[in-house]
Symmetry: C2
Subunit: 287 residues, 2 copies
């Protein structure tokens, strides 16, 4: 996973984007269309907003319509695909399999038994087993990941960079335990470590501790660090930050964000850079 | 720090207990008095409840009356002391130094600059520099720490023990970063890691995730692990659990607690064992 354009990004074969919730799928679609590549959007019902994809060709699918989706991909002679965006909360109605999907169920029944990571690996192996090539968003549009250096105008101070480096060491030490995509450090120590609660909940927790006076940190202190775990499949499970992350970091009173360059999605980098400048935050990619 | 009685526990020299908040100070006082040792209680105003100490000799002190406390300890020819219990939230009134305390301020001003751990080390080094011997509660009353094996009737299952062992490995990996006195594991993964928020807040967070359906764990799954960090001064900063911890663990829907034997305070073990049995929790010390 590097910031160099991969083969998938430069060739002109048609690309399917299996699109879930959020801003990342339409942003990726727009970059792929601009690159001149034929793009087909498979919008997941209850997650993707079909109106966000402009002029790209688009059809909507329930999760239970996997068989119909595969038929459409084959009819279009599409081999390359990307899965991006949040999944819909599966409802029985959305999952109800059509006849053409029934035969694939045993594969997913096995994958479901092993937890989230196992499920994602199961989804990738399913599409690969069906003859598709699964790419990561960073393969198609490397500019959607954090680049080395500051994203906006503000740069981290040497002290802030040292805190970020310490944070990356912490996340690396946690990686063998399959936990710790993010942490917050301040005042020369570790303030919060993300586990099942997610990054935004962790940031809010620190904000609450600061607001209630339980935690006192100096102005300019306090950094969020975010990086993938070792062995995380960056094709379908790349860590990401967005405008909500920046808003939470600013609201908590932290000074900025350190990201592993090329390994964390930032989506619309220009938009985030503007928000970082407005909020007085540094956001830096670290190689 | 072992479960064997140390020299401090068997000799009959007078012992001063500098007592903060909570049940541990009166419990330790009662065990020390029962052992036949002369005991003097220095109750910190705003923290210790003087009425909880029964017949032991007791005087109350503000933090700013350190000089007066030292004079009293010397008058009584006391060398051995234990600091135990929560500290009062320092108010300016409590800190206002008496004339006899002013000369000690530079020592504490230096210690205050380095954060909590540094402050505790500063307190220990202060008393040692004044000629006192600072003991841990476990030196005086090893029965106040978790003993190896189950505390109550319920024992951990092999699966639960494996999860506890994994948790201790995680805490050991975090130790070089001076963080992680506790963690919660369930469903073969790490659910929460304690940093600045404290153990009880971490347990409540997991309880909230379970109650809201964001996190689903099977009955009998879910363990809290607690252990000191490497290099933690167990004389003044031993991790502890109490009845509140057990109530939070039960309320969150977890199955039990794994503790590093001899290195985590349980206070009144018989009372906790009863509560563990009533709550259907296992609480095990692990050597």
């Amino acid at each position: 996973m590097s910031a160099e354009p991969s083969a998938a990004a430069v060739n002109d074969r048609p690309l399917a984007i299996i699109a879930g919730a959020g801003d990342f799928p339409p942003h990726l679609a727009s970059l792929a269309v601009t690159s001149g590549r034929p793009v087909f959007i498979a919008a997941l019902e209850g997650a993707a907003d079909p109106s966000a994809f402009g002029s790209a060709e688009l059809r909507s699918y329930r999760l239970g319509q996997l068989g119909r989706l595969l038929e459409e991909l084959r009819r279009r002679e599409i081999v390359d695909l990307v899965l991006i965006g949040g999944l819909p909360r599966p409802s029985f109605a959305a999952l109800r399999p059509e006849a053409s999907t029934l035969k694939y169920l045993p594969h997913f029944a096995r994958a479901f038994r092993g937890g989230d990571d196992h499920l994602l690996r199961g989804v990738v192996s399913f599409f690969e087993g069906q003859g598709f090539a699964v790419h990561g968003p960073a393969d198609i549009a490397p500019q959607m990941t954090a680049q080395p250096g500051p994203l906006g105008r503000r740069q981290a101070s040497p002290e802030q960079r040292a805190l970020v480096a310490r944070g990356f060491e912490l996340l690396a030490a946690l990686s063998p335990f399959d936990v710790g995509q993010a942490a917050i450090l301040a005042d020369h120590r570790v303030i919060a470590i993300e586990a099942a609660e997610g990054t935004d909940a962790m940031i809010r927790r620190v904000g609450d501790m600061i607001a209630s006076g339980r935690l006192r940190i100096a102005k300019g202190d306090g950094v969020l660090v975010k990086a993938p775990k070792d062995g995380q499949d960056l094709r379908v499970d790349m860590p990401a930050i967005g405008s909500e992350t920046l808003r939470h970091v600013a609201a908590a009173g932290l000074a900025g964000i350190g990201l592993r360059a090329g390994r964390v999605l930032v989506g619309n980098a220009a938009g985030l850079a503007k928000l970082a400048d407005q909020s007085g935050l540094f956001v830096e990619g670290v190689a």
